[in-house]
Amino acid sequence: MSLTIPDDSPAEPFLDVPSMLHGSAVARRAPVNRLVLLLAGVLIAFMIIGSKGSSHLRQPLQWLTLLGVVGVLGAGAWASTAAVHRRRREQQALDDVEELIQLRQWEPAAQRVEALLGVPSTSPRFRAQALLELAAILMRYERFEDAIAVHTHLLENEPLDDASSYVIRMSRAMAMLREDHLLDADRAIADLKRRSAGNVSGLQALIELYRDVKTGHAAEALELIDERLPLIRKQMGHRVADAHALHARALDMLDRKEEAAAAFERATLLAPAGELLRRYPDLRPMFDRYTPAPAPAEAA
């Protein structure tokens, strides 16, 4: 069976990763905050002059001080509100990109994330989230070296909590496997195992499975799938199709053809064959040997 991977790559080069990594930054304190501080300073000066000045100046200065207090409080409130609105807009933009990625609308997602990273961010957390979304898009366009560069930049330069760091390391390990950096991937997976301390996630299990299949360790892959398939299903939903596809490949490598055909059918029931091939080009031999599960014409 010959299968082509649909080419949805954009016509022109885009996503200049080095400039996005080093050009974007977190916004400095807004000029309005400096203005508020300046007003506060003037106010304090008025208060001091008012308390020490002659009696005919005292009252006007006290009124001015009162006006100043109101002005400073008003400016402070306005600055806070403006900052909150900016952050909300940026969070909404990031949520929109995440939705586009989930809906597999890669080009609009890429355009939006490029726009987001082209302006200073309101917080380091938002910038890290935008970079993570950029890495996911790069993986989709098979720019794995660029994706690894983004992951490494995030791990080395951005303040991350343990959970985010773990997710980024997993994504980086997957990119390494796709780019055939097997030694680096093996080290990264060993590091993940140490960090997870027994609390293995579905994605980590899938990465370990892919590593075993890619390096020809079919028997180890089969042991892993028996142990981890329920976890992958529970945590990854339809992406359990990837585990079934890798399972089929492991069985195929051990010449267990009938079981391989059954696992391949399960995989292609849950995900289109072309999509599985795009994610795991190593599975190509199976696509020539086994038939994908039939799907209704509308669903194909």
Partner: protein, 266 residues
């Protein structure tokens, strides 16, 4: 255990009290500032301002503590630690807070907890109580409450109430997650009123949305679509969807929860 009616009563009272306290403290501070230039500087005014600021700081601190208490319950509910979640939620609801959002979040979390505990009536009452409040910019909370309300009403066999709530949601802008949740409850509703044709309308798009759901929800939604396909004679869909549901979820649990699905898997 705090009842739904009691929680709503406490919320209304506390929101009123918090507004009154904020107004009183702000008003007192403004009066002190205005009085300063009129009656000249004086120690009493400074003391008054310090006292007002002190009260504000103490109440603000208590409000922030409530905010912190409101962070954990979703995780505890997801992990099935209902007693701990209940304890923290009750502290948020009963504690004083300047922040309206915190009190509303507490009520919302209680609705989610009751829903997880399968106390559909209590959860529905809480959702309705929350939706009657001014939610302002809390769109996500409002949509989430509506979705939980629909599920509660379906479990209580109130299909008319569920229909009204579903219609309400169609007037709102939904996020992707909310659209998935709406699809799940809508399929449940349509299966109860046997609107098989409507369920199969744009089925390919619905299936694509199901593929983004967590495994149990995806299994249930696709099983329902398989049931609809069976009733509309689209047998290619029946087989395909039923097999997918089998790979994604526990069929025995599905059929126990929704006995109508038995004919799909028999």
């Amino acid at each position: 255990m705090i009842s739904a009616e009691n929680a709503i009563r406490v919320l209304r009272r506390d929101l009123t009290v918090a507004s009154a306290v904020k107004f009183a403290l702000s008003g007192a501070a403004v009066i002190c500032l205005l009085c300063g230039p009129l009656i000249g500087e004086g120690l009493p005014l400074i003391i008054a301002l310090v006292v007002i600021a002190g009260i504000w700081l103490v109440l603000n601190y208590r409000s922030m503590r409530s905010s912190v208490m409101a962070v954990d319950p979703p995780r505890l509910i997801a992990q099935g630690q209902f007693d701990q979640a209940e304890e923290q939620i009750e502290q948020v609801i009963r504690g004083f807070s300047f922040y309206r959002t915190v009190k509303l979040t507490g009520l919302h979390q209680l609705a989610i907890l009751r829903h997880a505990q399968r106390q559909w009536g209590e959860s529905a009452t809480l959702c309705r109580g929350l939706l009657r409040q001014r939610l302002g910019t809390l769109d996500r909370m409002a949509q989430s409450s509506r979705l939980i309300l629909i599920d509660n009403l379906l479990e209580l066999d109130d299909v008319y109430g569920a229909y009204a709530a579903i219609l309400d949601l169609y007037t709102q802008r939904l996020s992707l997650q909310e659209a998935m949740d709406l699809l799940a409850v809508q399929l449940d509703y349509e299966s109860r009123i046997q609107a098989w044709g409507a369920m199969m309308h744009h089925v390919a798009g619905k299936v694509q949305l199901c593929e983004l759901m967590p495994a149990p929800a995806a299994a249930r939604a696709q099983a329902m679509l398989a049931l609809a396909a069976r009733h509309t004679g689209q047998l290619d869909w029946v087989d395909w969807l039923a097999k997918r549901a089998t790979l994604l979820g526990d069929i025995d649990a599905l059929v126990t929860d929704r006995p109508a699905l038995k004919e799909v898997f028999s």
